[in-house]
């Protein structure tokens, strides 16, 4: 598949995988089935030097780690967690999650942009998770974000592209990769996001809660590829049926 660039790195897989909801023992098989090159992990789940440490299950190979700042309630906390991620050797990629809402896990765009600015200046490759607001997305890019990660629907909801029109605006107006994150519940929805022109999609719950997560990861891989190819192929026009022309609006042109 054609690649795209985030910060210093070129990616060929456009399926990102969240890791928070799997049995760790399954992780490797799911990552391989999805042919993923980037996986996110919540730094809060790292258990460095301890047991069942998620880091040990996702590191290695050609994998790029995208630690997230889950647990941060404001910019200051996100920055602190990002620094910890760097200290733990997770690299320079950081997904900003600032979530002051425990019910729907809605992100705080304002604090997210603040954290983006600070961390981008410190050399992080910053990927802000946000509500798909065009104005805020522009601010995030101005603040130094390498991409934006708008939510399709609330995290874990599997509801699909509820914010479709807003995500489309971001894709059309932002000169940076748009990675659709959160809420994608089915491969067909991931495919649709890719057809719209998303650079990549990130899934977690949809795969983790599937009856067969490995098979579902493979299904997502194929859907993302199909959607990307459809985008590159440029979709054919959708016919709009003309109204009844019994009283043509341009009939006057024929009257000589």
């Amino acid at each position: 598949m054609d690649g795209f660039t985030l910060g210093p790195k070129r990616f060929h897989s456009r399926l990102f995988l969240g890791t928070g909801k799997f049995p760790l023992a399954n992780m490797r098989a799911v990552i391989e089935a999805g042919a993923c090159e980037m996986v996110t992990l919540a730094l809060r789940r790292a258990n460095v030097g301890g047991e069942e440490n998620i880091l040990e299950y996702v590191k290695g190979g050609n994998m790029t780690l995208l630690p997230n700042t889950s647990g941060a309630r404001n910019a200051e906390e996100a920055v602190r967690i990002a620094h910890l991620a760097r200290e733990l050797g997770c690299g320079d990629f950081i997904k900003i999650e600032v979530i002051p809402d425990s019910k729907y896990l809605m992100p705080d765009n304002y604090e997210t942009v603040k954290a983006t600015e600070i961390l981008a200046k410190e050399g992080f490759v910053v990927l802000p998770y946000m509500n798909p607001d065009l104005v805020d997305a522009r601010r995030a890019i101005e603040a130094g974000a390498a991409a934006v990660m708008p939510l399709a629907a609330p995290i874990g909801s599997n509801k699909g592209l509820l914010t479709r029109e807003h995500i489309k605006m971001l894709i059309d107006e932002i000169d940076a990769p748009v990675i659709v994150d959160a809420g994608i519940g089915k491969p067909s929805q991931a495919c649709e996001a890719m057809e719209l022109g998303a650079a990549a999609v990130l899934v977690n719950t949809a795969v983790a809660t599937a009856g067969d997560p490995v098979l579902m990861a493979e299904a997502f891989k194929e859907a993302v590829r199909a959607g990307r190819r459809a985008y590159l192929a440029k979709a054919g026009r959708v016919l709009e049926y003309a109204g009844d022309a019994s009283s043509p609006l341009t009939g006057f042109l024929g009257v000589q």
Binding site: G20, P23, R45, A46, G50, A78, P100, D101, S102
Partner: protein, 370 residues
């Protein structure tokens, strides 16, 4: 009304006497089960006797919601009792001040030794407990205990007597980020009857403790009623509403529910079982369906077989390697236990058990952000 001006105590408890679960029908229960976002009326229907024939459907829905929100993860933690002196006389409790049990309080060195023993089992999440005595376990002692635990554990909760905001701030700054305060019962009359003497008699001060903790900066609060003290349906409803309003007023707060029920304890005489397994299950499932994002903790006071059967349905947290005495993780107990535990599985056994259920044991799910 501005959320910040909510009087949660009045909102939760003013209607206690009038709560009536007999008015709900199977139709109400079906409606609540079909709803995407269950409102308080639906929650009430799920707790009502009319929901009893729907336990299977509730379990199906609760299990699905738990997986959606928490994946297959179950967080493991353990309590550490650092003192069991208590100045309250609670009719139902083994620590109560009139019970002649062996009292003790760990020195800082002893806390450290216990912490080392527990940390060696791999656990990173710990809950510090004391009996409720400001005289024996003052705020500085508790804060010192937290500071010691902070060297060995990543996530620290406290379950101690209710404090003022400034006192909670002190303990929070020492490293504690989770607060457990159980109202025991939301029934003011029964509350007054079973709390015979001591500062715990002050219903409102206890009720508002979780809020004071959140104001002091704590990340999350765990609440619960000791089911069986009064009408368990009313108490479960009020617990749920207490959590619901806390989340509305403090949207960032992590809300957790515990579901203790009356158990035997030292010198308690006859044990009267008021809340049956099906009742307790109904309560847990109703909490999950009403607040899908809330933590649910399953205690070692429950039997192994009950825990084994409900673990995939609603809980997000369970304790392991539990010792409810003061000290004793090295085999030498200094003070007697608050209650008997029914599930004495070690951390290793708990891990094997969770794996057998297709669940993922989580040792750490916390990063200090303050």
């Amino acid at each position: 009304m501005k959320a910040s001006e909510m009087n949660i105590e009045a909102l939760v408890t003013d209607g206690y006497e009038a709560l009536d679960f007999s008015q709900y029908t199977a139709e109400d229960v079906r409606g609540a089960l079909a709803a995407e976002d269950v409102q308080p009326e639906g929650f009430k229907a799920l707790l009502s006797p009319a929901a009893r024939p729907f336990l299977e459907q509730m379990a199906q829905k609760a299990s699905r919601l738990t997986r959606e929100h928490f994946g297959v993860n179950i967080q493991l933690y353990t309590p550490i009792y650092i003192a069991n002196y208590c100045v309250n006389h609670c009719a139902y409790c083994g620590f109560n001040c009139t019970n002649h049990i062996k009292r003790a309080k760990l020195t800082p060195e002893e806390i450290e030794h216990e912490a080392q023993c527990i940390a060696n089992t791999g656990l990173t999440d710990i809950l510090l407990l004391t009996g409720e005595s400001r005289r024996h376990s003052d705020v500085d002692y508790i804060a010192e205990g937290v500071r010691i635990l902070d060297r060995y554990f990543s996530s620290i909760g406290i379950e101690v007597y209710p404090m003022h905001v400034e006192e909670y701030e002190k303990v929070h700054e020492a490293g504690a980020d989770y607060l457990s305060v159980y109202q025991e019962t939301y029934d003011r009359t029964v509350y007054d009857e079973v709390h015979l003497s001591g500062p715990k008699k002050d219903y409102s001060y206890r009720f508002n403790a979780p809020e004071r903790g959140l104001l002091a900066g704590f990340r999350g609060v765990s609440i619960g009623a000791l089911l069986g003290l009064s009408d368990f349906r009313k108490d479960a409803y009020c617990t749920g509403m207490h959590g619901w309003y806390l989340q509305r007023k403090y949207p960032h707060a992590e809300i957790g529910f515990s579901v203790p029920r009356l158990r035997p304890y030292a010198n308690s005489g006859a044990y009267k079982s008021l809340v049956h397994d099906a009742d307790l299950l109904q309560v847990m499932l109703a909490y999950r369906i009403f607040m899908p994002f809330a933590g649910v903790n399953i205690s070692t006071r429950e039997s192994r077989s009950f825990r084994d059967n409900v673990i995939t349905l609603a809980p997000t947290k369970m304790s392991a390697g539990v010792n409810t005495g003061v000290g004793g993780h090295d085999g030498e107990r200094k003070g007697e236990a608050q209650f008997e535990i029914s599930d004495d599985r070690s951390v290793e056994e708990a891990r094997a058990f969770l794996a057998s259920k297709g669940l993922q044991v989580v040792f750490n799910d916390y990063v200090r952000a303050f």
